[in-house]
């Protein structure tokens, strides 16, 4: 080292990734509490697949395995994908999704830092487009009076697709809150009536509101650690609240309240962990705000008027395309040149 600076701050990349993983823990714990341990197996499968795919890709690209394999980025990608999966989905779904995420979305684009699209969301999008039925099969939350599967039964279901004898999937399944609302609306019911169903809690889906709170807690930790800029979550949540709030004010019979939107689906997870992926988001302050707000708008549009269980993945991917342009047109003025612009 012959040139300045000779001093460096010891916050390596690994620690950044590690902190992100830690910040996910509260949400994961609550998720397991609500939906059972199926999620843990999904996380494990995704992690193993991600590391293996990463290693193979590095090998194929003629790169050194270290330190890329242990930088933690592949693990974070795998976790974000697994957290979007139905917890009882068959093992090959999450494996396939992870291979696509790491192999196609990350390494085919040049590896860490080079990818245009959020890898986890690419994996999820491929799955939901290719296997819509399987991806919609969510087990009922444990808080609902449905048939509860034992931990072992859950694992057997994921790995072998085998349910205990005499039990059909419908007995343990339940539509997600978002799906339930959408289906009921199509049948001509009104939102206030729909929300009376026992599946819904005080503000969102029973249980799902707790998970959302978990993501929020983790996200605030990341913000406190200065690992995510405030513009991204604020822009995203702000847009979701603004859009859904406006619609709710105009027609409360057809549109659920902003609080319902925030506490269901992947909105909270997206706001703090997905939209905030630095590689695929803009880097300018105004650009981040704009990017996140547009992603929030798209999320609300897709989940309100589209056919998919949630709008997060497509909203984020669409905005990923625009990130470089947003950066281009939102360059901040530099020191001493503020008046000139």
């Amino acid at each position: 080292m012959k040139t300045s600076p000779f001093l460096i701050e010891p916050t390596p990349l690994q620690r950044v990734m590690f902190t992100v993983a830690v910040a996910l823990l509260p949400g994961i714990v609550l998720h397991v509490g609500v939906y059972g341990i199926g999620l843990l197996l999904q996380l494990l499968l995704a992690t193993a697949t991600a590391l293996l795919t990463e290693a193979i890709c590095l090998k194929l690209r003629g790169r050194a395995l270290q330190p890329a394999l242990t930088d933690g980025s592949a693990v974070v990608t795998a976790w974000l994908l697994a957290l979007c999966m139905p917890p009882l989905a068959a093992w090959w779904l999450v494996v396939l999704g992870t291979v696509v995420a790491i192999g196609l979305a990350k390494h085919a684009f040049g590896g860490l830092g080079q990818n245009t699209f959020n890898p986890g969301m690419v994996g999820f999008a491929v799955l939901i487009v290719s296997f819509p039925a399987q991806m919609a099969r969510w087990g009922a939350p444990l808080v609902l009076p449905a048939l509860d599967l034992s931990a072992l039964d859950q694992i057997r279901l994921i790995l072998a697709g085998a349910l205990p004898p005499g039990v059909g999937f419908d007995a343990i399944a339940s539509a997600t809150p978002l799906d339930a609302v959408r289906t009921a609306l199509r049948q001509g019911q009104m939102v206030p009536a729909i929300l009376q169903s026992p599946q819904f809690g005080d503000i969102g889906g029973k249980g799902s509101e707790w998970i959302a709170a978990g993501w929020l807690a983790g996200g605030l930790l990341l913000w406190r650690q200065k690992l995510i800029p405030w513009q991204l979550p604020v822009g995203y949540l702000g847009a979701v609240v603004a859009c859904s709030g406006l619609a709710h004010l105009l027609d409360a019979q057809q549109y659920a309240s902003p609080l319902f939107q925030l506490s269901t689906g992947a909105v909270m997870l997206a706001a703090f962990f997905i939209v905030t992926d630095p590689v695929t988001a803009p880097t300018t302050p105004r650009g981040r705000l704009l990017f996140a707000a547009l992603a929030g708008l798209l999320t609300w549009l897709i989940r309100s008027f589209g056919n998919y269980p949630d709008g997060v993945a497509f909203a984020v991917l669409i905005m990923n395309i625009a990130a470089p342009f947003i950066d281009q047109y939102t360059q901040p003025a530099v020191f001493g040149r503020k008046g000139a612009r």
Partner: protein, 681 residues
């Protein structure tokens, strides 16, 4: 106590300070080395010119090399002795390349040249700022904060709004300014008062980081009762950068390429203030400075060392360990690892930091950039470092420049915070040097083209001259035979020919003005010289027919065409426009033609304004134009040049056809050109 409203600058970092190691003890004089290696380039600008010869005896404080040119400063013998050599020696520079030095074998007597204070107050009262500036230049006073900018150039003569004194010393490990302020506050304050008087500053602010409470206290004590405001500023790197400190204290932002004086602010380092004080009040040139010796050394601390003291001598004095793997010249954030320790101490040398793996561990391998933006949050210039890194890596230097690469002050805050340990500043240095190299190449190419054009012009001119001489001889014989009345009639006819030719040529100046504006300022000189040569040639030719009384229809048009565009300097244009006093009628005519040409030119360029009257303004405009649209400009210039050439050729043909007797008019026509030429030389 100050209740001044401070301003924040964007970004900044707070690395561990490590100042305790060196700031606890008093400044000691460093021992006299057997040899002093005094670099001739210890300032920004041209190296000083040696005034002594090998073998000559010199006294302490004797000027051994004088400033050369405007941007330069003198260099002095730091001790008495004999000049041993004047030769290139390895320098205290990242490259370690040899640079001209004067080596003095010290005699141990430390015999001073007679010193006496100068009556600078009288000079100032007489309005002679120039004398004070020259004196500071000859005392070798330059910025001791590390930039080495000749201090005299900062005294512009105009009144300042705010004089900022930089005692921030924000780099880790360094404590030379801290100790200087603690121990010599009185002299610094006297120096500040002196500079305030020189710059007629309405307010004086001294910025000191709040991690130096003793220095702040000492300075407040010394400044008590005066109008000097000692301001404690938050400890955040790089608050000691002049731009950042000015921002903190005044809220003003000095953009890259803008002089702070234009905003009514000027900034001096405390060490520089001390040096200026010693020079003006005691007649002492700058021959020593305070250096922090720290890092892996047995006796960290500050010494007052003679300039030119070999660096290994200083490190040995401080007791450098074997673990020292490199020595950093300056601080850990902006200094550089010395390629050689054989160099002599320069005016920039504020710190020698003996580096070992234990105190400054090597950075781990670079990881990919994840665009986390930590660098942008840390950048005090408010750049987007991750984008600049991307552009530098992919060699998109133009885009890097568009994104204000040259606003980067290379403070290293971005690289300090980068979680991927990317050596960002290296990428910016690389991009900058590539851009500079490309600019040099472009200038060389422009110069070559210029020379080629001139050569073609010269060949053609020589050919014409030869033909004209032959024609002249034949015509002379014919004209002797012709009657006087006939000759007068012809004169009138020729006048119209000249006018027509000039009108045809009016298209040329516009084109060439563009050509001139595309070049860098240094190019203008070259162009002006070529133009002068052309004008001279024209004048010479004009002389020939005048004596020989020979018709020569081509010359006026060529002279007019070449003279006018080739005079971007307004002085020349003005003198050319002044009618020659001797021949009134002819001069008036010449003046009229010139005016017509100027109007035509203005009409062509679309701006009816005359050429800028202020050379400085013109230069600035040229610079702006060059920066704004370099490629477009170049293309336009080439096109204009081509057009001008065609126009000139057409004019020549027209004039040739028109007539053959224009001697009187031509003479007067060319006179201004001649005068302009003299002015130039």
């Amino acid at each position: 106590m100050s209740v001044r409203q401070l301003h924040r600058f964007h970004g900044g970092v707070h690395p561990p300070e490590h100042k305790m190691a060196s700031n606890g003890s008093r400044i000691e004089p460093a021992p006299l080395p057997p040899q002093l290696i005094i670099a001739l380039s210890q300032h920004i600008g041209s190296p000083a010119e040696p005034l002594v010869a090998v073998g000559e005896r010199v006294l302490k404080g004797q000027m051994i090399a004088q400033a050369s040119g405007t941007l330069s400063a003198a260099v002095h013998a730091s001790s008495s002795g004999t000049v041993l050599a004047i030769e290139p020696r390895p320098s205290a520079h990242p490259s370690g390349l040899a640079a001209p030095c004067i080596v003095i074998a010290t005699d141990g007597e430390e015999r001073w040249l007679e010193r006496q204070p100068v009556p600078w107050r009288d000079w100032l009262a007489a309005g002679d700022v120039r004398a004070i500036r020259d004196y500071l230049r000859d005392m070798g006073v330059v910025g001791l904060g590390g930039a080495m900018f000749p201090s005299h150039l900062k005294l512009t003569g105009g009144a300042l709004q705010t004089l900022v004194i930089n005692g921030a010393e924000c780099e880790p490990y360094i404590s030379c300014d801290d100790r200087l302020m603690r121990e010599r506050a009185g002299e610094i304050v006297a120096g500040i008062a002196l500079l305030a008087e020189l710059t007629q500053a309405s307010e004086v602010l001294v910025g000191i980081e709040d991690n130096k409470p003793e220095a702040i206290e000492a300075m407040r004590l010394a400044a008590g009762g005066s109008a000097i405001d000692i301001v404690a500023v938050p400890t955040i790197y790089p608050s000691g950068g002049a731009k950042q400190l000015i921002r903190i204290l005044t809220g003003k932002e000095v953009a890259a390429g803008v002089r702070s004086t234009d905003l009514g602010v000027q900034c001096f380092n405390v060490g520089t203030v001390y040096a200026a004080y010693r020079a003006l009040e005691h007649g002492e040139p700058l021959i020593s400075r305070i250096v922090t010796l720290t890092g892996t050394v047995a006796k960290p601390g500050n010494v007052e060392a003679l300039l030119g003291t070999p660096l290994d001598f200083l490190l040995h004095h401080a007791g450098a360990h074997d673990e020292m793997e490199a020595c950093i010249y300056g601080g850990p954030m902006m200094g550089f690892a010395l390629p050689t320790l054989a160099a002599g101490l320069t005016k920039a040398g504020n710190c020698l930091l003996a580096k070992s793996q234990a105190i400054l561990p090597r950075a781990p391998a670079e990881m990919p950039c994840i665009r986390c933006g930590a660098c942008a949050d840390a950048c005090p210039a408010e750049l987007q470092p991750m984008d600049l890194y991307w552009f530098a890596r992919s060699k998109q230097f133009g885009r890097a420049q568009e994104r204000n690469l040259f606003d980067c002050i290379e403070c290293g805050a971005c690289a300090y915070v980068c979680p991927s340990h990317i050596r960002l500043v290296d990428y910016y240095r690389y991009a900058k040097s590539e851009i500079w190299a490309a600019e040099r190449d472009k200038q060389a190419a422009d110069l070559a083209r210029e020379r080629h054009t001139f050569r073609q012009f010269r060949l053609e001119r020589d050919k014409q001259e030869k033909a004209e001489r032959l024609a002249a001889r034949a015509a002379a014989a014919k004209q002797q035979a012709a009657g006087k009345a006939e000759a007068a009639a012809k004169t009138a006819q020729a006048a119209t020919a000249v006018e027509q030719a000039s009108a045809a040529n009016a298209s040329m100046p516009a084109g060439d003005t563009v050509a001139a504006s595309k070049g860098a300022p240094s190019m203008d000189d070259k162009q002006a010289k070529i133009a002068a040569a052309m004008a001279r040639a024209a004048a010479r030719r004009a002389g020939t027919p005048a004596t020989g009384d020979t018709p020569d229809p081509v010359l006026p048009s060529v002279a007019a065409a070449q003279n006018e565009p080739a005079t971007p300097a307004p002085a020349l244009t003005e003198s050319a426009a002044t009618p020659a006093g001797s021949d009134d009628a002819a001069a008036l005519r010449a003046e009229r033609i010139r005016q017509a040409m100027a109007t035509a030119k203005a009409r062509r360029t679309g701006t009816l304004a005359p050429p800028p009257a202020d050379p400085k303004q013109q230069k600035r405009e040229m610079e702006a134009a060059r920066l704004a649209a370099m490629s477009v400009d170049e293309r336009a210039a080439l096109e204009a040049e081509k057009k001008a050439k065609i126009a000139a050729a057409m004019a020549r043909v027209a004039a040739q056809r028109q007539g053959e007797e224009t001697s009187a008019q031509r003479q007067s026509e060319d006179q201004p050109a001649q005068r302009g030429d003299e002015e130039k030389s």
